[in-house]
């Protein structure tokens, strides 16, 4: 204990210095935000070519709360979620090439939220920027443990903590790019999702497979689409200021 205290005192000036630096960085960052190059965006849809695979149902007998929650709407796996007109949901799109260092370094200030609802993750797949805050909340009346299992080589460190009913949300950010970190809840083994950690602008597809990657600086990029079952696809796009570029993807059903 005493050791600790002394250490803190000694490091106080250091902390102060760090604080100042951070402040500076923040200010600079705001400057950058203040005058952005007229940003464009990339829109498009992701479709599944072929019959949607059968998604197994989930038997939640183990936890009466979850079972009751899904009494009327049976739960099933979400590995491949096909919406209206073959639109593929939960696909992550991000700029894998062509992004300038400064643009890549920008970190959105708003948090990405993942909810635990009915003993499933909502959304099933989220994308976050490196260093962006991810907020974990629970709407369930049963305790969950959130257990991301990142690939250590990316510099991301896994953790495992649980959230009892009524517990406040908690935030967490990731150090390195990784598409995608699997997340699971050991208390409910069927419960799994993915966190795609990317650099720069990104998007995930909605229920009918369409997406919009907002504020992309003009330039030409490689857009990568990732789906947990079908893997990655890439497309080259050139973004001009103002006009939205488009990129469509089609995954072949296995």
């Amino acid at each position: 204990m005493k050791m600790k205290k002394r250490y803190q005192y000694r490091s106080a000036p250091l902390l102060l210095a760090l604080l100042l630096i951070c402040l500076g960085v923040v200010i600079l960052g705001q400057k950058v935000n203040a005058a952005p190059p007229a940003a464009g965006k990339i829109t498009g849809t992701v479709k599944l070519d072929g019959a949607a695979p059968h998604m197994k149902g989930i038997d939640m007998t183990k936890d009466p709360y979850c079972a009751k929650y899904h009494a009327s709407t049976p739960a099933h796996l979400e590995n491949v979620a096909v919406g209206s007109g073959g639109g593929l949901e939960n696909v992550v799109l991000y700029l894998s090439e062509g992004l300038s260092a400064t643009a890549a370094a920008e970190v959105p200030s708003q948090k990405v939220q993942v909810d635990q609802k009915g003993c499933q993750y909502l959304p099933h797949v989220i994308a976050v920027d490196v260093g962006q805050q991810m907020e974990v909340i629970t709407s369930d009346q049963t305790a969950h443990n959130i257990h991301p299992l990142p690939d250590m080589s990316t510099g991301n460190i896994g953790w495992n903590r649980s959230q009892p009913p009524g517990a406040p949300p908690f935030d967490s950010a990731w150090k390195g790019e990784e598409v995608a970190i699997p997340v699971k809840c050991n208390i409910h083994p069927w419960m799994h999702g993915y966190i795609a950690v990317v650099k720069g602008p990104y998007a995930t597809t909605d229920s009918d497979g369409s997406f919009t990657i907002a504020n992309v600086p003009p330039g030409s990029y490689t857009v990568t689409a990732w789906q947990e079952e079908y893997g990655k696809q890439t497309a080259k796009v050139t973004v001009a200021a103002g006009t939205p570029a488009t990129a469509d993807f089609t995954f072949k059903a296995k």
Binding site: K56, T61, D63, N186, P189, W190, H192
Partner: protein, 267 residues
Amino acid sequence: MAKFFAVTIILIAIGSAIPIVRGTWTQPVDISTHGYEIDHQYHETMWEAGVAFLAAQIILAVFIWKFSNRREDAEIRRLPGGATGLVLAAVLLVGTEVLALGVFGMNAWAKVYFAPPGPGAMPIQAQAGQFAFYFRYPGPDGTFGPLHPDKINEANENFFGLDPVSDPDSKDDIVTAEMAIPVNQEIHLLMHAKDLGHSFYVRELRVQQDFVPGLDVSVHFTATKVGKYEIVCTQLCGLGHYNMKTYLEVMSQEDFDSWLKQQAALQ
């Protein structure tokens, strides 16, 4: 003070006995064929332990009452029989008592553990993992496909690590999250631990057995009452231990067959 203490001891002793005698909290009705032995043994023991408990506490209290704070000139008396008497009492009474218990207990234990499962026993594989049980029925071909630990993938609900594509035996295996068994049918439960030590405990069945990683143990039992019972884990296995449970459904043969068909459809 001393007399008050003596009274307190007696009150506590009797008070502790009341819930037992009145059966306020007692184990649930036994639904197994072997459970009778255990319950019988339990009640025998309860009698002997109870008598020993009350006797010891009350005698202690009485002696405290009688022999505390006596006059200074009161003379020290020696218990008739002395130490030898006590030792004899202990060895004869308690000795025979516990040996009797031991022998009968052995009998009960043997009935549960030494008798092999009958030829008609229905094999079911139970797998315990953090923090859920999963069960596997061999399906029509009556044989379980091999397990491939490397193929286990809970995200795709491949909880056992089956490979239906290359293992014909696995094709018709039925994996379920709750355990259903036909009534009055002997079950041979093959217990497989996926990750850590767990335990299979059904109070009504009078069955408790640990899952031992790296060592597949098995138990066999017969349920005699239709109904829904809880299966819980009793071996500390991590943060979700308290919530590691599922249900045992004892059904009539017909219900069971239709249930199994229904489950097979879901695979």
